[in-house]
């Protein structure tokens, strides 16, 4: 009997370990987000700070194309200008417009995307409508600024870059409501 008991003790321990590891798989989700936040990877929803005086590189121009998309929510979303030209190191402000075409109040969150990928490293955003959620009443229209600077460190072979935003609906099932960040419910 004692051998059987010893067996079931080990089995219980291993089963508990299994359940803990199953939970650990899920615990990796907040852990991953925390790491991204602490190390500054993926901090799409926080403003950058300009630490030092940046010299404007007047020797070259960068064309910044502006793109806007919505996914799954009845909004019109567009930039007021399709592209701007700026020197690296120069502070630029552009405007976007959103309009709620439906007859209900909708919470939306914009997620940025950059092309080339490398731009993410050299783009400093001081202000953006994507830092918080946007709430639009029925038929409300809003114009929102984005203030950014492209660092002179951007390799010279990129003379055209694209900044793209996509609005997603923050519904009851996505549980994201603080506006600080998008929760992965």
């Amino acid at each position: 009997m004692s051998a059987l008991q010893a067996n079931s003790v080990i089995m219980k321990k291993l089963l508990i370990f299994t359940v803990v590891m199953f939970g650990f798989g899920f615990a990796l989700v907040p852990f991953y987000e925390k790491i991204c936040e602490v190390t500054g990877i993926n901090n799409l929803l926080q403003a950058d700070t300009l630490t030092e005086n940046t010299q404007v590189d007047t020797s070259r121009w960068v064309t910044i194309q502006l793109d806007a998309n919505t996914r799954g929510l009845p909004w019109q979303f567009k930039p007021l200008q399709s592209s701007v030209r700026a020197h690296p190191g120069e502070l630029v402000e552009v405007m976007y417009e959103i309009r709620n075409d439906s007859n209900r109040e909708i919470n939306g969150q914009a997620i940025p995307s950059y092309s080339p990928q490398l731009l993410a490293k050299h783009l400093k955003k001081l202000e953006c409508f994507c830092f918080s959620k946007q709430v639009l009443k029925p038929n409300e229209v809003r114009q929102m600024p984005v203030q950014f600077m492209i660092e002179p460190g951007l390799p010279a072979d990129f003379d055209t870059v694209t900044i793209s935003y996509t609005f997603f609906e923050l519904g009851s099932d996505s549980a994201a409501d603080t506006g600080e960040r998008v929760n992965k419910s």
Partner: protein, 526 residues
């Protein structure tokens, strides 16, 4: 009772059902071990047919045989079937047959759970295969089931996820059984450091399984809820992060590749001393090397993702940690070589496969070190170089050790000697065609041929043709293996209790074939 078997008289307490019910209800470790091995062989042929279809399509540039959608399903399912259906169950089959006999235990610790962990595999395998026939076809995003593809695909993906859940549960149950058996049921006098190395490697593998499998279960559960219940763990459209899936997947996936190779190390560590007629060189260093490989395997996962976007510090950490694994692996290769050094070697089929394993696994290990180097990995990522690398460690590594192990223990399992000439022919055919199929893939990869494509640029044509010829040769050589095994089961020269004079472990003290119940009174190990 209508049918009374001989051993029913010998063991009056043992009246198991006959026919199909015997196999359905059996709790005998030898029956279950045989079922595992046959199951894995059937899955090996299934995955092999998929591989040959892939190679047939790649025989020439252009689309000839299958359409690209189906090609993607084939590459995905080939990987899943071979990893979860062929290699892993084969090693569990070895564990079932050998561990109780090698440690002097009468059976596995939880015999009924053992039966369950085998029979769970059948519905899982059926789910996987059946997913080819549902609308949208089988999962087609690669065996790593990365989002966003795996979030978007049809119900074949859900079936694959369920199949993985079931196989994972079966693996965990099997591992709990193996750990308990090894820790609690060793014969008196067999201390941990006197265990055969095969038992040691399986003990460590089983711990890796109970650690890694639940993490995979978690990852694919999140995938399932993303697909069906509106969560957004990985779904970028809802703020999720697809790269996070890669991290969680490979946190399971890298220990998984060692789950598939550590038991192979164990088998080879049994075969080499037997046919070199010397004790294993550096037994304790082998144990510690196995343990350090297992521990290191948990901190290197992101080397699969160097091009997915990672800070340089992270790349450097994972690069150095990965290269560190070459040290304990090198210890093992040196120990095997030192065991053979000045031994009285003979070259029966198991030994040929073991030596073939050392040669080819080392090539695969070296290309692994090359892939670990970040700047090179960024070049060869997702090319045929990676395909060549992991087939060198999984086919000429894991699979060759399985062949070697089968030849080594067949006399014990069946009571007959296998046909040595045919066995050696099987080895040389496998060796030749394996290298023909996979060595050229290194060149294809370095030249830039991407993996998972049904068509390719013309400059890759010659090497692909050679590779396809090799693959077909290798595939058909395995039918010879089937013939040798069947012939051995049906008859042949009677095997003595210890057919290999250099063998030292406990199972050779039993008669051949091993009696249905063995070591009911534990042997005493001194």
């Amino acid at each position: 009772m209508a049918a009374v078997h001989d051993h029913d008289i010998a063991h009056a307490h043992d009246h198991h059902p006959t026919g199909m019910m015997r196999w359905l209800t059996t709790t005998n470790h030898k029956d279950i071990g045989s079922m595992y091995l046959w199951f894995s062989f059937v899955m090996f042929l299934t995955g092999g047919v998929m591989a040959l279809t892939i190679r047939a399509e790649l025989f020439m540039p252009g689309i000839q045989i299958v359409n690209p959608e189906f090609f993607n399903q084939l590459t995905t399912m080939h990987g899943l079937v071979m990893v979860f259906g062929a290699i892993m169950p084969a090693f569990v089959g070895f564990a079932n047959w050998q561990i109780p006999m090698m440690i002097g235990a009468p059976d596995m610790a939880f015999a009924r759970m053992n039966n369950w962990s085998f029979w769970l595999l059948i519905p899982a395998a059926l789910l996987l295969i059946a997913s080819f026939f549902v609308p949208g076809g089988a999962a087609a995003g690669g065996w790593t089931i990365y989002p966003p593809l795996s979030v978007q695909m049809g119900m074949g993906m859900d079936m694959a996820i369920f199949a993985l859940h079931i196989m994972g549960a079966a693996s965990i149950m099997g591992s709990i059984n193996i750990i308990t058996t090894i820790l609690n049921m060793r014969a008196p006098g067999m201390t941990l450091m006197k265990m055969p190395l095969f038992v040691w490697t399986w003990l460590i593998t089983a711990y890796l399984l109970v650690m890694a499998m639940p993490v995979l279960a978690g990852a694919i559960t999140m995938l399932l809820t993303d697909r069906n219940f509106g969560t957004n763990f990985f779904n970028a459209a809802g703020g999720g992060d697809p790269v996070m899936f890669q991290h969680i997947f490979w946190f399971f996936g890298h220990p998984e590749v060692y789950i598939m190779i550590l038991p192979a190390f164990g088998i080879v560590s049994e075969i080499i001393p037997t046919f070199a007629r010397k004790p294993l060189f550096g037994y304790s260093s082998m144990v510690y090397a196995t343990a350090s490989i297992a521990i290191l395997s948990c901190i290197v996962w992101a080397h699969h993702m160097f091009s997915a976007g990672m800070p340089v510090t992270g790349q450097l950490f994972f690069m150095y940690a990965t290269m560190l694994i070459a040290i304990p692996t090198g210890v093992k290769v040196f120990n095997w070589t030192a065991t053979m050094w000045r031994g009285s070697m003979t070259f029966e089929t198991p030994m040929l496969f073991a030596i073939g394993f050392i040669f080819l696994f080392t090539i695969g290990g070296f290309s692994g070190v090359i892939c670990a180097i970040v700047p090179i990995d960024i070049q060869v990522q997702d090319t045929y170089y990676v395909i060549a690398h992991f087939h060198y460690v999984l086919v000429s590594g894991a699979l060759f050790s399985i062949f070697g192990g089968v030849y080594y223990w067949l006399p014990k399992w069946t009571g007959h000697m296998y046909d040595e000439t045919l066995g050696k022919t099987h080895f040389w055919l496998s060796m030749f065609f394996f290298n023909l199929a996979f060595f050229v893939q290194h060149f294809l990869g370095l030249a830039g041929m991407p993996r998972r494509v049904p068509d390719y640029a013309l400059q890759f044509a010659d090497f692909n043709m050679i590779s396809s010829i090799g693959a077909f040769g290798f595939g058909f050589s395995q039918l010879l293996f089937l013939y040798v095994v069947l012939k051995c089961i049906r008859g042949g020269e009677k095997a003595p209790a210890k057919p290999w004079e250099g063998a030292k472990t406990l199972e050779w003290t039993l008669p051949s074939p091993a009696p249905y119940h063995s070591f009911e009174t534990p042997p005493v190990v001194r």
